[in-house]
């Protein structure tokens, strides 16, 4: 209950927003963090939880996850996917606007808000559509969307190649101080591609998407951001060249941030062998060198967030020859464990990983969440970092079983997730 108090003792607390990584105590009262530190706080608590050997961190903030409602409840529902999110330690989820209908009017937001209020266990932050219906022809009513609660605007993965419209969209968003979330991809260059343009796609005969589809779009958006002053967030970067462009833009002082999908840090186009439809994603899995560059950019903080890019599908969506399958990986359940795997591989330090999953996305969203700072909403996760689990139909809570990690044994199991001081998931 919000009114109750809780003391968690002995966990390794990782709170990158406050630069804290060590054993200690976290206390919660009235749904807010009361204290976080090495010393046991005074006072009485309704409940005390011993957590030696566990990790405690802020609730994860996922910058891109599809819940499939409204419009595609056969793939997932707000209930099923939010449950999967909480099981993965995610307490805040940014919803791209490519629902059906798209989030281009307050009416859709009202519907979403009422449904999420019924669930009440996590925070859903919708992005509004950049153009009406995501059709790339007319600007969406961004002011109305902002007033109704959108935290930014986005074209999701819908193509937008009209450079004048791109410019106007940035100007208009900047007028409203809305950040613009872009998955950089030239629709013309991507065409009907379904795989990275390279030796693997050539050998498999798969229609290909060149790196230039990403970088030309990025260059165009950056040039326009320079002249409009709009805040740009690039989502799901996929290539080494894009990471370099991001770093150069940041060095030049542009207000540009970026995220990467967790699967892009693990997989490459080599995983397409055998036409595995679970590896069909957009942007496509690129080469091993790209993956390494993305890993470096994440470790350095140039890419400030790792997201799930969760896209659950029903079985039929992936039961087809590769180019005819729907792109996307179900990623909520595996986000945190794959992150721990990056630590095991020496890619990133624990505190930096947690930063990319909590304080980093919070900073991108300009929100105060993602920390264990006293007074902050008490969203946090307790996990057993050593527990192993097998990714399989029985262990995934998402309705989408479409993950190339099926059958893998992963480390790190969420034991409990708290939202606003309430334990909303328990294993």
């Amino acid at each position: 209950m919000n009114g109750s108090s809780l003391l968690i003792c002995g966990a390794r607390i990782i709170d990158p927003a406050n630069g804290f990584d060590g054993e200690g105590f976290v206390s919660v009262r009235e749904g807010r963090i009361e204290s976080c530190g090495r010393l046991r706080p005074g006072g009485d608590f309704d409940q005390t939880l011993g957590a030696e050997g566990r990790w405690l961190m802020p609730g994860l903030i996922d910058l891109a996850g599809r819940l499939r409602e409204p419009g595609q409840s056969g793939k997932g529902t707000l209930r099923s996917e939010s449950r999967a999110a909480l099981a993965g330690g995610i307490t805040t989820l940014v919803l791209p606007p490519d629902t059906r209908p798209a989030i281009d009017s307050p009416a859709v937001l009202d519907w979403l808000r009422s449904r999420v209020a019924e669930l009440g266990d996590f925070e859903l932050l919708p992005l509004g559509a950049l153009t009406r219906g995501l059709e790339g022809r007319v600007l969406a009513e961004m002011a109305a969307l902002s007033a109704a609660g959108c935290v930014g605007v986005s074209q999701a993965t819908a193509p937008l190649d009209d450079s004048l419209l791109m410019r106007r969209a940035l100007e208009y968003a900047a007028t409203l101080d809305l950040s613009v979330h872009i998955v950089p991809m030239s629709g013309a260059l991507a065409g009907n591609g379904c795989a990275h343009e390279g030796a693997v796609a050539t050998r498999l005969g798969l229609p290909a998407i060149p790196v230039a589809a990403e970088t030309t779009a990025m260059a165009q958006w950056l040039a326009l951001a320079e002249t409009t002053g709009a805040r740009l967030h690039f989502g799901r970067l996929s290539s080494a060249r894009a990471a370099t462009m991001l770093i150069q833009a940041q060095s030049a002082g542009l207000p540009v941030t970026a995220d990467v999908a967790m699967h892009a840090l693990w997989l490459s186009d080599a995983d397409l062998e055998g036409f595995d439809p679970h590896c069909h994603v957009i942007p496509p899995l690129r080469e091993a060198d790209d993956r390494e560059a993305l890993r470096h950019a994440v470790a350095s903080g140039a890419i400030g967030a790792i997201c799930s890019d969760h896209q659950p599908h029903e079985g039929d969506a992936k039961t087809n020859p590769f180019p005819l399958t729907e792109p996307g990986i179900s990623g909520l359940d595996t986000l945190l464990s794959l992150g721990l795997g990056l630590i095991d591989q020496g890619v990133i330090e624990p505190i930096d990983l947690v930063a990319r999953l909590t304080s980093g996305p919070a900073r991108i969203l300009r929100r105060a969440s993602g920390s264990l700072t006293p007074g902050a909403r008490a969203d946090f996760v307790l996990l057993d970092p050593q527990a192993r689990w097998d990714v399989g139909p029985q262990t995934l809570l998402s309705r989408g079983r479409n993950t190339p990690f099926l059958g893998r044994s992963l480390r790190g199991r969420v034991l409990g997730t708290w939202f606003s001081g309430r334990r909303v998931f328990e294993r």
Binding site: G198, R203, P321
Partner: protein, 331 residues
């Protein structure tokens, strides 16, 4: 484990040339050699697939290719069914898997599948009932293994020492399943050099990783080659994004009599057909004395018979066994 070769090294399906052991590839060609006489007999039939059912399941229209598969199956005494399926069967609410399941229920032994999506044959093989074979008759840009086998069969009849051969493949490599399968086959058989020739718009990135050297100048690419393999240029590629015009392509990459005259006298000219006269090849050259185009068509029947027989007709039998069977029937 390989999807198309069983634990004993025998063909279960034929989906792609890639990864086939050289011995198996040679065995297919040997078997085709032994079965080629069937077409020359008075009674053009052997009983190797008697009682078996082969279904040509074509999601792309192709009377010519389908006919060669049909004829091959009939010469092996199989019962043959032809299904022209819509590649958008889902418009009727049916998935490809539904289509496969329905047709499998008719106790078909082999599906000869053509589909416009790369990987379609793999998809069918992954979902086929055990014992049901898939023969890839072309999937998207990925593979057309029997075309490559008949090409190798044709080359071998004239130039059996692949290790000496320099081969040039000209045209739309980007969209060509034939080119990909030919490159794999030539590499497996040990060709000395494989070149792909065309404008940059039609040569895919990373083709070198397949073992082919890209050339953008036809004359340089044809220098000292032993085999010239032309590809059909699809009409929709002839203008717009890929090429300025068919005429310009012909000027840059068309095989003309003048270019033919500069080749080695013994160089072979091949084309999977049907040709675009005056685009990738001059009409006179196409059916001139150095062209093997009609031989390729003829050999296609024997090669397809061989593959069908090796997969279905005599699982575990050797090329010699099939040869004996064929000769016995002929006698």
């Amino acid at each position: 484990m390989s999807l198309q070769v069983d634990e004993h090294g025998r063909l279960r399906h034929l989906l792609t040339i890639e990864g086939l052991p050289q011995a198996l590839l040679s065995e297919i060609l040997d078997t085709a050699e032994s079965l080629s006489s069937v077409g020359e007999s008075t009674i053009k039939k052997v009983p190797l697939l008697r009682g078996r059912t082969v279904m040509n399941l074509f999601f792309e229209a192709s009377t010519r290719t389908r006919t060669t598969f049909e004829l091959a199956a009939k010469r092996l005494s199989a019962d043959v069914l032809n299904i022209q399926a819509s590649s958008s069967s889902t418009t009727k609410g049916e998935t490809l898997l539904d289509t496969l399941a329905t047709l499998q229920a008719m106790q078909v032994d082999m599906f000869v599948v053509r589909h416009d999506a790369s990987g379609a044959a793999h998809f069918f093989a992954q979902h086929a009932t055990p014992g049901v074979a898939i023969l890839n008759a072309g999937d998207g840009r990925h593979a057309h293994p029997t075309q490559a086998l008949l090409d190798m069969f044709t080359i071998r009849r004239h130039r059996p020492d692949f290790g000496q051969l320099k081969v040039a493949i000209i045209g739309d490599i980007l969209h060509s399943r034939v080119a990909r399968s030919d490159i794999h086959a030539l590499r497996i058989l040990g060709a000395r050099e494989i070149r792909v020739i065309g404008p940059r718009t039609l040569i895919p990135t990373g083709i070198e990783a397949m073992g082919a050297a890209p050339y953008h100048d036809l004359d340089a690419g044809l220098d000292d080659v032993d085999v010239v393999m032309l590809l059909r240029l699809q009409r929709e590629r002839m203008s717009g994004y890929f090429l300025a015009s068919p005429g310009e392509f012909h000027r840059l990459y068309g095989l003309t009599q003048a270019r033919l005259d500069r080749l080695k006298p013994e160089a072979l000219v091949m084309h999977p057909g049907p040709i675009n006269r005056g685009v990738e090849i001059e009409g006179d050259v196409a059916y001139g004395p150095r062209s093997l185009i009609l031989q390729q068509v003829e050999h296609g029947i024997a090669v397809r018979m061989a593959v069908m027989a090796m997969i279905l007709g005599a699982r575990g039998s050797t090329a010699a066994g099939l040869r004996d069977s064929a000769q016995g029937a002929d006698a």
